[in-house]
Symmetry: C2
Subunit: 260 residues, 2 copies
DNA sequence: CAGTGGTCTAGACCACTGG
DNA sequence: CAGTGGTCTAGACCACTGC
């Protein structure tokens, strides 16, 4: 029974035998086990995980405890519950919102009327990580990374210029051709083709002026202030997997944020 | 027993007698009742609400049902749970983070080392709402509003220029003097002196250039791109209570955002 | 109609805080 | 040590989905 949460008895929470500091609730242990299965690929994005009752049996805990673990994972957008159907591994593909991490919306607010973005891959090159890219991705300076640059346009108007870096090893085999051939969000391709699911991200936002090359790619005057959005995307266990630097036009769009 | 959630029996959830569409769980009804008490001022910011057992008795439901209602309110930052002590109404005062809605942080990341902001009230005037201010605050054009302008500086460097509008009626009596005399976050003053608690906010962010007056107040060149942050702050039941337009310097600071 | 997640209860016990 | 929130269980029943 290597699937039992700890060496503890059937029903009681642990923390009795070990010298664990502070105490860890049973449902947190269950949550960790589910997280391991997610990370390990036992259940893939879009697929259903076993039912609550089944998991309760496997882990030898009550359904309520499994439920609380799943509740938290669902709140973190790692799982998606569908009443009457089951619980599914969240995915960037087949989601209603095309880009889950993109918070730029048209000033009209009508994101539907605008339609999907036109995407143009500028280039995709293998290169050695600079000091700051390496630091962000938890690599060493000079390690192999992939650099991708692309432009997103809405209604034919170039609106977003993105430059992103991926660690070379997990993304071996990614080319401009594969990026161009892919229909759907880039993060969906990462999931499907490379088994890397972006779970969380942190953004640093600034106002900047473009350099000449950037202004040209976006077809804007060099004096137009742009939003600089630096995003670090993380996979399970907070492992950084992508550094992305975006330049957003904000004369027709704006970055929308909710504060709770 | 006017405190019972519905006219339903002691334990059973309702939705039996009425033609309510769709069905509303008991804990949601409890949540609404707690929300009413919060809005109505039965428990004030910083004060404890009754214990779960006491509320369960009052509402004639089980402790678990009250717990679930409180869980959601705590997740929305309306309540704060403290194990062994009780559950408290969230407040903008006496919080560790000085400004809960301000996401600008120094590039160093060390928000402590920077120390508190120096605040300077530029002016506080009574005026008539323009069309866009009225629309944001759900007033009519020409209704009385208060306009406040101020500058925040860190280490003596002016960093934020804010212009904000408040509905005249709830904030009657607010003056520049009272703002200057107040120590602590502005939202704490709103709570304490005017009984208005900001619960949630939406921000629209852009990159802009300052006009001459703005550049002067911030002591920056007119060509320096700045972050424009338009915030609509809402109180209970999503009633808009403040429109705030901020200009942030982002050469030494950045706007930090977490994407889940 | 079977199976899933969603709600609700009742009771036991645990961890934490304050006096 | 009394009181609070936090965890866990067991069981009943409800709402929703798909076949």
């Amino acid at each position: 029974m290597s699937t039992s949460p700890t060496a503890a008895a059937d029903t009681a929470p642990s923390s009795t035998s070990s010298t664990t500091p502070s105490f860890s609730p049973l449902y947190q242990q269950i949550k960790s086990l589910i997280l391991q299965s997610l990370h390990g690929g036992e259940w893939k994005p879009g697929e259903p995980i076993p039912s609550e009752i089944e998991l309760a049996g496997r882990f030898r805990v009550s359904q309520g405890t499994v439920r609380k673990a799943i509740d938290e994972l669902a709140a973190e957008n790692l799982l998606v519950r569908r009443q009457g159907v089951g619980t599914f591994v969240a995915t960037h593909a087949e989601q209603h919102v095309q880009y889950r991490f993109l918070k730029l919306v048209p000033d009209s607010g009508d994101i539907e009327a605008e339609g999907p973005a036109q995407r143009e891959i500028v280039d995709c090159r293998r290169q050695r990580a600079s000091a700051d890219v390496a630091r962000a991705l938890a690599l060493r300076t000079g390690d192999a990374v992939l650099q991708v640059r692309r432009v997103l346009a809405y209604r034919g108007v170039p609106t977003i210029l993105e430059e992103l870096w991926l660690p070379g090893t997990p993304f071996k085999g990614l080319t401009a051709e594969r990026l161009r051939a892919w229909r759907g969000p880039m993060y969906a391709l990462f999931e499907t083709e490379f088994g890397v699911r972006m779970v969380r991200a942190e953004e640093k936002i600034r106002a900047v002026l473009p350099d000449r090359a950037q202004a040209e790619l976006l077809a804007v005057p060099a004096a137009m202030p742009l939003l600089s959005v630096e995003r670090l995307a993380l996979t399970y266990h907070d492992i950084p997997m992508e550094l992305r630097r975006g330049l957003y036009r904000t004369d027709t769009h704006h970055y929308r944020n909710q504060l709770g």
